[in-house]
């Protein structure tokens, strides 16, 4: 049972990481719109808008 004294503190560290990650995600607005992003999977893939001649940065961003 001595493993408890190692595993539980480890779990608590993981908990701290999880809380930090959650707060970071909320702060950066990832939970602001929960509806439309699910659709981007269906919508975005096969049909790309024709690239604009002056818009090469689009590729760099991705």
């Amino acid at each position: 049972m001595n493993m408890l004294y190692v595993l539980i503190p480890l779990a608590l560290m993981l908990l701290a990481v999880a809380v930090w990650a959650l707060v970071w995600a909320i702060r950066s607005g990832q939970f602001d719109d929960l509806e439309s992003h699910g659709w981007s999977v269906v919508l975005d893939d096969d049909q790309k808008p024709p690239p604009h001649p002056d818009d090469d940065k689009e590729e760099e961003k991705k």
Binding site: L4, Y5, I26, F31, D33, S36, L43
Partner: protein, 814 residues
């Protein structure tokens, strides 16, 4: 899913008017569209490779504006002050929040993102489908505000500069904070529950003292931050309400949490007795969840309110030395001179320069009777100019207007917690005191019987008594109902309208613009044979000049499109001293000659022809009639279906119209409505309504025009249809935002459904609290059970309410 008949517009689903043959090409097929606006939007969407939008959208598009250039021009006026809106980010980028009309589903969000992100200078685009806000991060060096607005308008959406972006920012902050609290409580709960399983197992099968106290210690370490971070709002709420002298629901909650925590700590440090850390975190988590869901519903609800709080017109027509220019109303400065047409709202506070008119100030005074205002009189922004086009000089604009202050007050009032109608305000403190007395009594009672269980029983009473479900029962249903209505395309402006709508047994329809599409067209022109010098073209131009200031639907038939005949000779005529005679016609001077246009009774005309063709519009000068215009107004496509549905529900229907007997008969016969009245003045309509109400009927009035406003305001429930006069909208309880009459039916359904859910929720909440209390007092209910039961009961109420939000298409049972 989407009902689209053969003649419905491919983009917006509205019927394609007769005589319009515009098409877009899709997969080699010609798809009909209703106007050049929708055509342009659809063509743009296809040519940019975004055609999948049509495949995946869950709702039809917004009918596009035909005259984009005018709107874009108005936006350009803002470009030199674009730094006023949005926030400055690092490296010169800007963060702009635009309220965007027409966002209806996730496919819209995708369409906007894909299109706008390809514009120069745009870094990223976020669309919130729930609230209708579009957030654009952009570089002002490479684009302008008007360019961004134009990108949205090209797709058929209508952006607005948010009036209350600070409030929206605040609400977003509130949402994020609530989510953080919820997340921390949830993660903490999972941990503590896990340790609790170990402790309970230890109780059953034996556990070493060292390990037991280690698990309890870890539970305490996790509970403490949850209590401080997530539980803080309950303590703050309790403290606030105590300070205000009226203890609220947060008091027993805060008491239960803190007592349970302190007692657990005491038991832990003294090394004897139970710990309730699991109950504490669970209670906090479920309460936070309930609050969070309620807040989300309330915020979504607020968007409708915010849209309606935009009482000021967006644009104003400023008079300059060279003529007129359209600028954003918020850009008006003191001393500017502005033209305000009849039927429009004043864009700013100011004084009238010329003309005499009637002003509807119901917005401010609640008095629905128009007030006469002449030169020199003060007018208030947002009030409505009823009868004459007037010029005014601005004295206060934008945020300084009386109505902006009012709007801020309104938003403030709305953002408060929806008041619970279940419990009167005075009852709350009584209830709280009663709970505290029962809890204390329970503790004393158990002290006599079995002191060891006294504390746990008292804790259970405190937790079980929390009438969270009861206090949530009504507000969440109403919040969900108004959200559901908004999804259907109905803006609810007065919450009490919902219960009233369930009692409706009589529906009165206005005809023009309500049962019919209200956009008449000139189908034939007859020139007086004795006046051959006037050509048809000339008659139309005169009519257009006279009708330009009128907001009456008939005036729309005479809009002069100068661009079509680009020659200089066809410039629009200008009429002076235009007077609008309510429900009869318009008179004015053109090049010094007096002209009149209007109904048969208003304009001198050959009587034989008049009886023949009652609903024609006549044009006359001082020598007699000159031309007769024959107009036709078509029935709305879904009128017949809707009327049949309403009849099937046993509602009595009536048509009241200011129009001629013949026109009313034509419509009423087709719809098989026997109760009809033609040539009704607003006073007569009002009298008829009073008569119906006196005989015990509950009346729903559906109208659209300025002349319906008094009746709309007087009816038990009122609705206006899309495109209704602003005056009518401001008098209505509900505004139908699409051109579909079927919404009337849907609103009634939603109201009935709402009533049902309110009953269910109230029954459940009262039953739960009443039945669980004896269990708690008798000590049969452990604190963790009470916490779980209370939380689940609240969640049940919220979940029940959110059934309303689901769409018809997904849930045919609704």
């Amino acid at each position: 899913m989407m009902e689209r008949t053969e003649s419905a517009c491919f983009h917006c689903g509205e019927p394609v008017p007769d005589g319009v043959s515009l098409f877009v090409l899709r997969d080699g097929q010609q798809k009909p569209v209703c106007c050049s606006g929708c055509q342009a939007v659809a063509e743009l969407i296809f040519s940019s490779g975004l055609g999948r939008y049509y495949q995946f959208r869950q709702d039809l598009g917004r009918k596009a504006e035909e005259d984009l250039e005018k709107d874009i021009e108005a936006w350009r006026g803002c470009d030199d002050r674009q730094s006023l809106w949005g926030a400055e980010l690092a490296d010169g980028k800007r963060d702009l929040l635009l309220q965007t009309e027409g966002i209806r589903c996730a496919a819209c969000a995708w369409l906007i993102r894909s299109h706008v992100e390809n514009k120069p200078g745009v870094d990223s685009v976020q669309v919130d489908t729930a609230t209708g806000y579009t957030r654009i991060i952009w570089r002002p060096d490479d684009n302008h505000l008007s360019g961004l607005a134009a990108a949205l308008m090209e797709l058929g959406y209508k952006p607005h500069l948010p009036l209350a972006s600070a409030e929206e920012q605040g609400r977003q902050e509130e949402r994020r904070n609530s989510m953080k609290r919820l997340g921390v409580a949830g993660l903490g709960m999972m941990q503590v529950m896990m340790y609790a399983v170990g402790l309970y197992a230890g109780d059953a099968f034996g556990i070493a003292v060292a390990e037991r106290s280690f698990l309890e210690w870890v539970s305490l370490m996790v509970t403490l931050p949850v209590l401080i971070y997530s539980g803080r709002i309950f303590f703050e709420g309790a403290f606030r309400s105590l300070k205000a002298g009226s203890p609220g629901m947060d008091v027993p909650v805060a008491l239960a949490i803190s007592l349970a925590f302190i007692a657990s700590c005491y038991n832990f440090f003294t090394g004897k007795g139970e710990v309730w850390f699991d109950s504490v975190v669970m209670f906090i988590f479920f309460l936070s969840l309930g609050r969070h869901i309620e807040m989300m519903l309330r915020h979504r609800n607020l968007q409708a309110g915010a849209a309606l709080a935009r009482l000021l017109p967006e644009w104003a027509e400023r008079l300059t030395d060279d003529g007129r220019e359209t600028i954003p109303a918020s850009d008006l400065a003191d001393g500017d001179r502005v033209l305000v047409r009849a039927g429009e709202s004043f864009p700013a506070d100011g004084a009238l320069d010329s003309g005499a008119t009637e002003v509807d100030e119901a917005l401010l005074t609640g008095e629905s009777r128009p007030v006469a205002r002449g030169a020199g009189d003060l007018v208030i922004a947002g009030t409505i100019n009823l009868s004459q086009p007037v010029e005014m000089t601005v004295t206060a604009s934008g945020q300084e207007t009386t109505v902006s202050a009012l709007g801020r007050l309104l938003l403030l009032a709305q953002s408060r917690r929806p008041s619970s109608n279940v419990m009167p305000v005075w009852l709350v403190p009584v209830f709280i005191v009663a709970v505290l007395v029962i809890a204390g009594g329970t503790w004393l009672g158990w002290q006599l019987v079995d002191p060891g269980r006294a504390f746990a029983a008292m804790l259970s009473v405190l937790v079980a008594s929390c009438p969270c479900a009861l206090s949530l029962a009504l507000p969440v249903v109403y919040a969900a109902a108004s959200r559901r209505l908004l999804d259907e395309g109905i803006l609810l402006t007065r919450g009490e309208a919902l219960p009233a709508l369930t009692q409706t047994d009589t529906v009165i329809f206005d005809k023009t613009g309500t049962l019919t599409s209200g956009q008449p067209e000139v189908v034939a022109i007859q020139i007086n044979p004795q006046r051959p010098e006037i050509s048809e073209q000339r008659a139309l131009r005169i009519a257009a000049a006279l009708e330009i200031a009128s907001a009456h639907p008939i005036a729309g038939a005479f809009r002069w499109d100068g661009a079509e005949n680009g020659t200089g000779a066809n410039k629009p005529l200008v009429a002076e001293k235009i007077t609008i005679h309510s429900a009869s016609g318009v008179s004015g001077l053109i090049a010094g000659a007096a002209w009149k246009i209007g109904k048969a009774g208003f304009v001198p005309n050959p009587s034989a022809a008049a009886t023949d063709n009652d609903d024609s519009i006549w044009l006359a000068d001082d020598q007699g009639w000159v031309a007769r215009f024959e107009l036709q107004d078509s029935l709305r496509p879904d009128a017949e279906f809707t009327i049949q549905q309403l009849k099937r529900q046993g509602l009595e229907l009536a048509v009241l119209s200011g129009d001629s007997r013949k026109a009313v008969d034509r419509v009423a016969d087709r719809l098989q409505i026997s109760d009809r009245a033609a040539r009704q003045t607003p006073e007569m309509k009002l009298a008829r309504l009073e008569e119906l109400r006196n005989s015990g009927k509950h009346v729903l009035m559906v109208g659209d025009g300025v002349n319906d406003a008094p009746v709309l305001a007087a009816a038990d429930v009122s609705m206006t249809v899309k495109g209704g006069a602003e005056l009518a909208n401001s008098a209505a309880d509900m505004i139908l935002t699409s051109e579909s009459l079927e919404l009337v039916n849907k609103a009634i359904h939603a109201a009935r459904r709402t009533r049902e859910l309110v009953r269910q929720n109230l029954t459940w909440a009262v039953m739960y609290n009443a039945s669980v209390m004896p269990l708690a007092v008798s000590g049969m209910l452990k604190p963790w059970m009470a916490a779980l039961g209370m939380s689940l009961s609240s969640l049940l109420v919220v979940a029940n309410a959110s059934r309303l939000v689901k769409r018809n298409t997904e849930n045919p049972a609704l």
